[in-house]
Symmetry: C2
């Protein structure tokens, strides 16, 4: 595949395999015919808005200075042509000139076929309890020193949401070091780095030795932390296994068996509260989060961090029926992966997708100590995109 650099406002490269065969003026739009037969409409407003000439985009910051209201409501075109450089060239009625390289234009086209291609599920792999591909493994030394290994790890985190990094020195602070390979560490009221162990005065069920049912961390915040890192320094007590459930599989199972319950949990805000003597965090949000295309993008769930359900009385029975079914599904072994961490292992998982749980342990039989921290999805994705710029041109 041929690749060409982008325009000033981008840092990516774009494939030049498909070229512009013809560009014709339509009613308020330019119609582009591509060399592979596809046709893409580009409306005048969209074209004028994406002009990246030095008058429209700041040369140093690469950010737009032009606003579309600076152009007349009824935009008009004096001429359109495909240049010798293969780019689409437009001269506007007021004399302004704009150009778009074919690779960039193809990558941002919004005809139905181009949009479907762009939004195709990015290799998301939804897993159940007996799926051997549920957990991808990586070596600490590789992800710390090799950008290709780092990129592969971050890719797996996006695909399955659950990864294991092995060979991390079982020392305090190592988890923070790995997290910073990915991006900014997200601090919370439990600290930038938190210690999961049985504590004398626990302010969270996580800091006891009791069984911890499947949950996401900090559903009490508007934005739940994206990636959670849990590094095992010691795991010598009886019990204390790790359990994971793919929240996307759980949501799918609910939608398949009880579509009405799925719809209720995707629209009814639940109350998530985390209160202590010094803090009082509250978030009202549905258990299942959907994007504009109705795809599940998030699960928000910690039974032990809920406030009383606040919903119209008439819908209370249906809400509890749905929530009971959700909880019952989360207890089904078919969705659960159960593993035991050894000192030096580190879980890295998507905290907004993968529910994690812990079996009860007996602190009198040995030490159990995990260190953890968080990095947001924004950070993971930014790092992955930058690593991907050099690796592959955008199709």
């Amino acid at each position: 595949m041929q690749a060409a650099p982008s325009r000033i406002e981008d840092w990516r490269t774009f494939s030049t395999d498909v070229t512009i065969a013809a560009a014709t003026l339509g009613d308020g739009l330019v119609s582009v015919a591509w060399s592979d037969g596809r046709r893409s409409p580009f409306h005048f407003d969209w074209l004028r808005d994406t002009c990246s000439c030095p008058a429209c985009v700041h040369a140093q910051t690469r950010e737009q200075v032009f606003e579309i209201v600076d152009a007349p409501d009824a935009l008009a075109v004096r001429g359109v042509q495909v240049g010798r450089d293969g780019a689409l060239h437009v001269e506007w009625r007021d004399g302004h000139r704009s150009a778009w390289p074919p690779g960039w234009l193809r990558a941002h086209a919004y005809d139905d076929a181009s949009r479907a291609e762009r939004h195709a599920a990015q290799g998301r792999h939804v897993w159940s309890g007996d799926d051997p591909d549920a957990i991808a493994g990586f070596a600490w030394r590789d992800v710390m020193h090799d950008d290709a290994a780092l990129r592969a790890w971050l890719g797996a985190l996006q695909r399955t949401g659950l990864t294991l990094v092995e060979g991390v020195p079982p020392e305090r602070g190592r988890v923070d070091e790995i997290a910073r390979r990915v991006g900014l560490v997200r601090e919370t009221n439990f600290g930038a780095l938190f210690d999961v162990e049985s504590k004398p005065r626990p302010d969270s069920n996580a800091y006891t030795s009791i069984n911890l049912p499947p949950h996401t961390d900090l559903p009490t915040r508007e934005l739940q932390p994206g990636v959670q890192f849990l590094h095992c320094l010691a795991n010598d007590a009886t019990g204390g296994d790790s359990i994971f459930i793919d929240g996307f599989a759980l949501a799918d199972a609910l939608r398949d068996a009880y579509p009405d319950d799925f719809a209720l949990l995707a629209t009814t805000p639940f109350e998530f509260w985390n209160k202590s003597a010094a803090s009082d965090y509250r978030c009202s949000a549905p258990v299942i989060g959907l994007n504009a295309r109705r795809e599940v993008i998030e699960v928000r769930h910690a039974n032990f961090l809920r406030g009383p359900v606040d919903a119209p009385a008439a819908s209370m029975p249906a809400i509890y029926r749905a929530y009971r079914r959700f909880l019952a599904l989360a207890r089904e072994p078919r969705l659960r992966v159960q593993r035991r961490l050894r000192a030096g292992d580190m879980w890295a998982f998507d905290n907004r997708r993968v529910l994690h749980a812990r079996t009860e342990f007996d602190p009198s039989t040995g030490r159990r100590h995990l260190q953890g921290c968080y990095v947001d999805r924004d950070e993971l994705l930014s790092r992955w995109r930058v690593l991907s710029r050099a690796a592959t041109p955008t199709a």
Copy 2:
């Protein structure tokens, strides 16, 4: 007003002015008649789920250990009564006993009247350009040392979204000190603390001297920073005034004049991109954010941080019509407050509500230097709730 302490899982106090007059068994629910004539239904599932006995709630962490699926699907009640303590007492068929103090029960009742009372707009004050109450002023010394002043300031931030703190020593790092009075500082790729001044190699239009149109900071992140602090160390250049627009007023104006455009901007994801050599943040989200009750809770807007609109071709003309109208409204003087910061002044505003802008300045005429940082809404609200626990019992 009389106040009584809450149950173990809460730290608030609740009014005891209204008492339980009677409690009767209905079909799958307990019907409570209050001393003021209101009636509230409480379904068995809701009651069993909110039991705070030591078997259901962990005594130290105050978090629930019981899950509603631990109780039979068809919950049944052996007896219900109002105790001598004024509380509602229920004995379940399996022998489990639960009790709810009247103040707590009333504060969480979900009959229509109780819900409407609880969700009534919390004193939100939407302002336009000529509103003298748009900007509430506070003294640095007070908010730093007096919790009542701090609470008043955080209350104003919730009501109008825009406040001015005066008398802050014009020294580096002071902004960080004030922000930590509110809560955890939110770090971004621009640093935990950022310097807004004209820089030789700017990676953002903010770091140039050009006119900066109305915007929210970091719309490129899933969660835009909640509160922005901008502390003026020097403002000696010609130009560089601050402009603010209440984004809620802007959204209201759009909804009033062009309801279809409002609906489009509240549902169509726009692309927000912030790319540099080392980072690549992208967020796809509507310009106007609504909650489950269709109230505007967020505006996401920075024209200079957008990627190409990615929407079906058929809706492109309507989307641009809506966006043009939104931009045109943001230019109308009637919505704008324009002020000039002096050294020692600090703006604190809701970055997800209030758009901020800056007029062009001439760096050859003097120094202009602001320091800024962010704190999320979660932090602001947590701090305010804790300060309010002592101040007022929850009605």
